[in-house]
Every structure is written in C-alpha cells, then in structure tokens.
C-alpha cells in the first residue's frame, strides 16, 4: 500500500467539502467508470462525503456532487484521490 490512505475519498472526513484530484479509472470496470462520470464525478469537481455505511459495514458512501446526492461503494471511493477544496 503505497497510496496515502488519508488522501482518498474513502477515508475523507464526513461533512467536509473536498476536490477530486485524480481518479484511478483502471481500478474499476469501464461501466463503473462511466456511471461515475454520468454522476458528474470527475477530476476537478468538488464533493462532500456525507454518510458512510451502517452497523453492518462501512459500505456504502453517500456524497453530494453539485446539486445531486449519490451513493457509491467504498471500493470506488478508494480509487478517488482528493485534496482540500479551495
């Protein structure tokens, strides 16, 4: 694990807006990648992670992107590198 864990969306604190710096498209299937883009999740956009999982599991993650609220799995969130929003 050479990735800096605290820099991925999966580890980002809830309720704080972050900017997507990089998405590792190879870590997910083509369909998953396309659906992410259809949700508007792309490099440069700002997102706020809001809810994470339940007592059963850390999965899934709900976040806002623009005026939309979307749900993704932790596996995809782990492929998204984020940086503090300006």
């Amino acid at each position: 694990m050479t990735v800096l864990l605290e820099n991925v969306l999966d580890r980002a604190p809830l309720g704080v807006m972050v900017r997507i710096a990089r998405i590792d498209w190879d870590a997910m299937s083509e369909d998953e990648g396309r659906r992410l883009r259809e949700f508007g999740l792309m490099e440069g956009c700002e997102v706020t992670p809001l809810h994470r999982g339940s007592i059963f599991s850390r999965d899934p993650l709900a976040l806002t992107v623009g005026r939309m609220k979307v749900i993704i799995r932790a596996r995809q969130a782990a492929a998204i590198t984020v940086e503090p929003a300006a």
Binding site: R52, I55, P60, G66, M68, I72
Partner: protein
Amino acid sequence: MTGAIPSIALVGNPNAGKSSLFNALTGARQKIANYPGVTVERKTGHASFADGRPISLIDLPGTYSMTPASLDEAVTRDVVLGKLDGEKRPDALIVVLDAANLDNHLCFALELLALGLPTVVALNMLDLAARDGLTLDAERLSKELGVPVVPTVAVRKRGLSELLVAVDGAIESHQPRATVAAPANDASLRQRAHAIANAATVDETPVRRWTQRVDNVVLHPVGGLIILVALMFVMFQAVFSWATPFADALEGAIGVIQTWVVGTFPDNFLRGLVVEGLLAGVGAVVVFLPPILFLFFFILLLEASGYMTRAAFLMDGLMGKVGLSGRGFIPLLSSFACAVPGIMATRSIPDEKDRLTTILIAPLMTCSARLPVYTLIIGAFIPATNVGGSPVGLQGLVLFGLFISGIVGALLVALVLRRSVTKGNAAGFMMEMPRYQWPRWNDIVIALWQRAWIFLRRAGTIIAATTVILWLLLTFPQAPAGQSQVEYSVGGRIASGLEVVVAPIGFNHDIALALIPAMAAREVAVSAMATANAIDAGDDEDAMAEALGDRIAGRWSIATALAFLAWFVFAPQCISTIAITRRETNGWKWPLFMVGYLFALAYAAAGITYWTAVAFGLG
C-alpha cells in the same frame, strides 16, 4: 402524417419526474405491457392536442446516457434510435429535465437532441428548484438548445397544455435538423452541459436544506436502521389490522350473493358449480384484495417520497455481506407485494450475477399471495390477544415472524448461492439519491388501481379456472351415501396419493388436496380448501355456515398448522413467478433450479417445524 396517430416519447434521467408528467398528461388512460422480447415494462397512454387530435404517449425508462448500463436503459436507447424490433420510432421526444439538476440532466438531453427528432424540453419540477433557491431562464435555455423549452410542474398540472402546443408545433414545423453531433467524449459533453446550465441560471441562493437534516437522522448508522425496522413493522401490523374491516365487508357481500343464488335457482349442476366452485373459491381469494392494496400503498408511498433509496443505502452493508447490493433491496421489497414485478424490477441491477441471485431469492419474500394462507391459519390457530398487555397483537407478531423467516432464509440462500452457482466479483452499488418529495396522491391512486386490476384479473382467470377444475375433480364420481364426497372423488384419491409423501411432515388430507391446485398460485390453497369445505358441507346448512377457519381449527393440530405455515414461507407455488423467471433468465435452467431448491427447503422447514412442535406436545 395524415391518419397515423403521432407517438411521442417521454425520455430523461431517473428522478426527473417523468412518470408524474406522464400521469398528468394521460390521467388513467394508460396501458402497461412489455416490450416485445424483453420484460421491461412498456407504459403507454393517450392524450390529445388542444383541437382534439389524439396522440399516443410512451414513458421510457429513465437513463443517464445513450450508453446503457442495464436492460431497461438499453430499451430507452433502442426505442429512440428506432432499433427495437416491433417498436415504432417515436415521432417526437419530450425530454424531461429536473430544473434543480440541470448540469447533470443536460448531458443526456444534448445526446438526445443530436438525434435530430422533433424535440421539446420540459423543464420540470420548477417548484422544487425554487425551494432550493434556484431561478432559471427558460427562454435562454431554449436559445442555447435550439428547441422549445416549456416550464412544467407536473404535480400541479402546470405547463401541460403549453407543452402539448409546443410538441404539436415541433412536429408540424420540423425540418430535418442539421444534426449537431453530440460532443464526442464525456468530458466535453459535461463542459458543454455545464456552460448551458450556467447561462440559464439567473440566480442561485444557497438555502439551508431541511432535507439534509432529515437524512442525518434517517441515514444514521444505528438510528436509521431502527427507523427502517420500525417502519416495516408498522407497515405489516397495519396491513393486518386496518384492512380487516374492508375484508370482512367483502366476505359478507360474497355470502349474500351465495345465499341469493341458492335461494333463486333450482338445485342443479350449474348452481353447484357457481356456489361451491366459483363463489366459494374465487370469493375466498378476492377478500384479500384490501390487505394487498394496503401493502402496495405503503410500498408506493416509500418509493414516491424518496425514502426507498435511503432504505437501499442502509441495507447495502448487510446485502453486501451476502454478495448482493443495496439495489437489490428495492426489487426484494416489491416482492413483498408480488414476486413478478419484483423480479422484473431486477433489470435495473447492472451486475449479471447479482441480478440472477436477486431473482432466485425473490420468491422467498412474503408476497401478498401468501397473505390469504397466513391470515387463514393465523386467524384459526393464534389467539387474537396482545403480547403481555402491550398494544402489539400476537397475530400481527406471528405474521411479522413469517416475514422475517422469509428474509433471513433469502439472505442465507444468497450467501450460499454467491459462493457456489452464482460466484463472481463483488457487486457494485451506484445510485442517485432522489430528493424527498411529498407523494402525489394522483400517481399513487393510478398505480394502486393498476395493481388491483392485475389482481382481480388473476382471480378471474387463473384462480377461477383452477377452482372450477378442482370442483369437477371433487364432485365426480358421486360418493355412495354415508361416504365423504371429497374423499371418494377423483381429486380426493389423487390427494391420498400425495398424502403419503407429505404425511411425514405432518400434512393431512386437507392440505394434500390443497397443494396440487396451489401450484398455479399460492392463494388457491385457500380457495381449494373453501371449495372442498363447501362440497363436504353439501346441503347441511349448519356446516355451510361454519367458517373455513373454524372448520380447520377443529380438524388440524397446531403442529400441522405451523408446518403448513413453514411450508409456504419457501414453497415456489406460483406459475407466474416460474414463467417470469424463465423469461428473465432466457431458459429453463434457472427456473428449474429455483423450483427444486425451494421445494427442498419447504419440505425441510415444514418437517423441522412439525417434529419440533410435536416434541413440545403440540401434535
């Protein structure tokens, strides 16, 4: 275009308010069928232009782009491209946009505009956008897109006539547009959509959103789950208690008709068929229309308010543990009403193995067809008392327990299947969370009416036919005096053969007799027993008046009754479910597998229940 009725397709992203707009435009003049060759629901309806010329509207499944991720999305693409066999390409499109989510919805709109069909944009849910502090300029948007843009609020029927005028105009004045190619890749498409959305946005004031505060409670890792379980519990209690007066009234009405027929017509073959066969059999099933409608009402309410996706979020963790995803929760919850629409709803699950597993466990959800069986047995054997002085009824609690058994069974089966026959990668779960909305009564009434109609049509066809056949089998040959007609008849002898197989798990002759016709549909078990009861009672008025519940309460042991309940938690006794599984999985392999494993489970569960109950002295 003279003569042909123009067909107009409503198309747009999920959660754009497409179906509400469709309902507002067509009212109850709708037809639900399937697209040829696929089981995606095809919703069409009729409306007319201001001068009375008829038009036909079609509501296409919501999708994000022209590149489909699932079966229903593929239908949308194929229809608008005119590539779906047996389906005419629409003459015009109404592209429905959520006014509060322009950035996102414009991407798909741009792709649709590039098709060059006559197109009008409905800028929908303007009221919700205003609630979020957005002011939009429809004219500017129209100028940017090059097609008419009509602001609509489907719920309040605002903008509907303007929309139809614009569609009429678009078809009349349509010149094959120099088709502007949609931007070639995702990024430039997004940029273009973003630029247009910005241009059309006049004002954007951030508003404190109460919906976020609701979500903080509803999606709480612990509290949210407690709310979900409480909601489900209230729902099932309500289905049982609120619907009872309505069911009693229906039962009374059927009794009045039976008495009237007996008193009016001479005693002959036909009167027997009508009173003992049709009225006793079909009537026993029709009285369950009220609880079924209450259940659908709750499910539609959860769906329309936007809560259902929150429930999917909460359940995803648990479902992920057994190799499914939160997306499967929605088809599975629909399966509580009926597995057939539930299995059809799995088409929105993108992962093939995930979808197959969800189909295979859908029949374990306690569908409404089991309610007749459960309510009959619970009513006959479980006392109508409250648990320890609390307001919780014991009968409702037992019903809740049966629902839970189905769910736990389904999760365990999924766990096993995902490690064996449907092994594959962990399923994904990506979904948009719709905003909360006040459910529209109009939409719910239309949907409820459609469910009621489907149920009554089933009662009128499959159930009526099997009941009549059963009546014939039970009536002939005539038993000599002193012998039970039901035992002596052809049907009774077949049942005696089956009784040998099911006797070890505590099933008696009544049950063996009911199980065979119940292959057609579970609730037929009840109508079959009602028919057998009516024939056995013959002209004995006291026996005739004795309700079916009281009669079996006197004839069965508690252990047998409990085993019978356990059997129906698992048994795949529904022709429609088997047929829809065959269609959805393109072959006989999976439906046969499903029937096999469910019967095995049903036999084991009934057996274990019976032997345990007998061990506790309830035999």
